[in-house]
């Protein structure tokens, strides 16, 4: 049963990705898309591409395909990070966007861009975004945790404060470092997220971080299950709680930071996806985390498809759409928790 669900999810990712590559401002028939993709994936000269126009080849392989791959990677990374955070804080409201981890990543990226260091290596942006995400996540964690217990109210409040401060810093740096006509564009990108003009270099930029972060996340799934039982129980079941928490936080920051480095702040993905997946797969992280990766990928590919087709030829910011879907969901969760929150 579980295996079937995974196979179904995997097939769905492929189908959604192919649809997203096919649909756009320029109409390209589906079979032409497939042909171009195969021609680029398979060894040279296996597929005849002479009959396909140069424009179509560029649109499919150099514009749409990398964008959809980045969308899938960002969605997978944010959803996995969200699942990790909710497990670690034993708290269904924790997620990278809400407690300021994403904005920390954006600040790191903006700093490295403003100093000009980013031109030396494409890996500088994700590395600094990771450091920003990590610092912000640790700050909120330290503020909200006392003797291994994290209170929901303190976590959310600390998240709001850290979020506000970081966004102010990000806007401040952008205001001083970019030319006037670029400022609003940069600000909108980093604060509201988006996948416009993503190229293959962006794929390579985020792939290593997301791969490593996801790998660590998968290694520590049993510990995450046990941490849900509370720190004392976890400790008495042989988990080195402090060390494991550190590793899981770092991996969540790595996933969030690298995703933010290529997409800006796309909020609510890390909140919504783990909840939905938990209903289908159950709470065991060994299955939850990979299922979140697949579902997160589907969600962001689809949302990005809406973002670029709803209001053609203009694009709606991806972060705006995910917020429109995600914020009501967050409120719903908050209402469900209201009775508990009253006591805090």
């Amino acid at each position: 049963m579980l295996r079937l669900k995974f196979i179904a999810l995997f097939i769905l990712v492929i189908i959604v990705a192919l649809i997203a590559i096919t649909v756009g401002s320029i109409n390209i028939p589906f079979f032409v898309v497939i042909k171009i993709l195969l021609a680029n994936i398979l060894p040279n000269n296996w597929i005849e591409t002479q009959t396909i126009s140069q424009t179509n080849q560029v649109v499919v392989w150099l514009i749409r395909t990398p964008r959809i791959i980045v969308a899938a990677l960002v969605g997978a990374a944010l959803a996995m990070a969200g699942a990790q955070m909710q497990g670690l804080f034993q708290n269904p409201l924790a997620s990278p966007g809400i407690i300021g981890t994403s904005s920390g990543g954006a600040l790191g990226a903006v700093i490295i861009l403003a100093t000009g260091l980013a031109s030396h290596s494409i890996l500088y942006i994700p590395i600094f975004a990771f450091i920003g995400a990590l610092l912000s996540l640790f700050t909120v964690y330290m503020l909200a945790t006392e003797r291994g217990q994290t209170s929901i109210a303190t976590l959310l409040l600390a998240g709001i404060a850290v979020n506000a401060l970081i966004n102010a810093l990000t806007s401040f740096i952008i205001t001083f470092s970019w030319l006037e006509y670029e400022i609003s564009r940069e600000m909108v990108f980093w604060l509201m997220g988006g996948l416009d003009n993503r190229t293959w270099s962006h794929v390579w930029m985020c792939l290593p971080g997301i791969f490593i972060g996801g790998f660590i996340a998968l290694l520590y799934t049993r510990e995450l299950d046990i941490l849900l039982m509370g720190s004392e129980t976890a400790s008495s079941l042989g988990v080195e709680v402090e060390k494991v928490k550190l590793i899981i936080l770092t991996s969540a920051a790595l996933l969030t930071g690298t995703a933010v480095a290529v997409s800006g702040v796309v909020s609510f993905v890390g909140l919504v996806i783990p909840h939905i997946v938990r209903l289908i797969i159950g709470p065991k992280h060994r299955y939850l985390i990979p299922a979140c990766a697949l579902t997160g990928a589907i969600f962001v590919i689809l949302t990005d498809l809406l973002a670029r087709t709803l209001n053609r030829p203009e694009e709606i910011r991806l972060g705006i759409l995910t917020a429109i879907f995600g914020a009501p969901f967050f409120l719903y969760l908050l209402l469900k928790q209201r009775r508990k929150l009253n006591y805090l």
Partner: protein, 258 residues
């Protein structure tokens, strides 16, 4: 043969000594209860014995080796701790929860072997929760849930099990059920140490009572010796009358000290 020893142990948190000069020796196959007023330090003492908190003074050792020098996994194979609050909001099945008890034996890349599954099965049968295996933990009653927690402890195969008020939220029937279960574990040479408020239940099942008063071990020994009128007056600020049940077992009737 396992010996868990507290040696002049003290623990200080925020300039406050929660436990002072506590010395105690616990042998295999003993059934020990900690009695004391609220805030006396019962839970703290259990946490020290479980190696969850580190003593500020003195030391806690298992078979002559200080607890802090054990690897967390190795210690988990020897000592199991069941905390009082086990609120679980996530829909794990009973079997999944109990399987977590095998964590101290599992390597990072391993999944559970047949032997691990056998251990889980044995623990479920012993605690009579096998029929609940596929049920969700957050749907169970208090008594069932407590049995699941004990089953998870059994799955760790630790010879020493520490429980913090395991019957705090249970009615009398379920309380007696849990104690009968724990007693049967003692018969299999497990060591059981628990804290409890119900003095009469403690007397009926425990072979040793540790009275804790304001962070110190006030008295320690068999119930007949430790539980005296002056001790009740001092530790609990209550007056105790002896009564005997039909089996001629000593029980107490308590009134407020005036």
């Amino acid at each position: 043969m396992n010996t868990l020893v507290l040696e002049k142990v003290g623990i200080q948190i925020d300039n406050n000594w929660l436990i002072r000069y506590a010395s105690l020796e616990i042998q295999s196959g003993q059934f020990i209860t900690f009695l004391g007023a609220n805030g006396a330090g019962k839970t703290t003492l259990l946490r020290l014995l479980a190696g969850l908190w580190q003593a500020t003074a003195g030391q806690v050792s298992l078979n002559g080796k200080i607890l802090q020098s054990f690897k967390r996994r190795t210690l988990a194979q020897q000592i199991s701790f069941v905390p009082q609050h086990s609120l679980i909001n996530f829909a794990f099945t009973v079997q999944e929860i109990i399987t977590m008890g095998r964590n101290p034996y599992l390597g990072r890349f391993c999944s559970e072997s047949q032997y691990d599954h056998d251990c889980v099965q044995y623990a479920m049968e012993k605690t009579d929760v096998a029929h609940l295996a596929k049920r969700f933990i957050n749907e169970l009653s208090g008594g069932e849930r407590q049995r699941v927690m004990i089953a998870r402890s059994l799955a760790t195969q630790a010879p020493i099990i520490l429980l913090d008020e395991p019957t705090a939220s249970l009615d009398i029937e379920h309380t007696l059920e849990i104690f009968a279960l724990l007693k049967s574990l003692v018969a299999e040479n497990k060591t059981i140490v628990l804290s409890i408020h119900d003095i009469n239940t403690a007397i009926r099942y425990a072979d040793q009572v540790v009275l804790i008063h304001q962070g110190r071990i006030f008295a320690n020994g068999s119930p007949e010796i430790v539980l005296t009128k002056p001790a009740f007056a001092k530790v609990f600020n209550i007056n105790a009358e002896n009564i005997f049940n039909s089996n001629k077992n000593k029980q107490f009737f308590f009134t407020k000290l005036t």
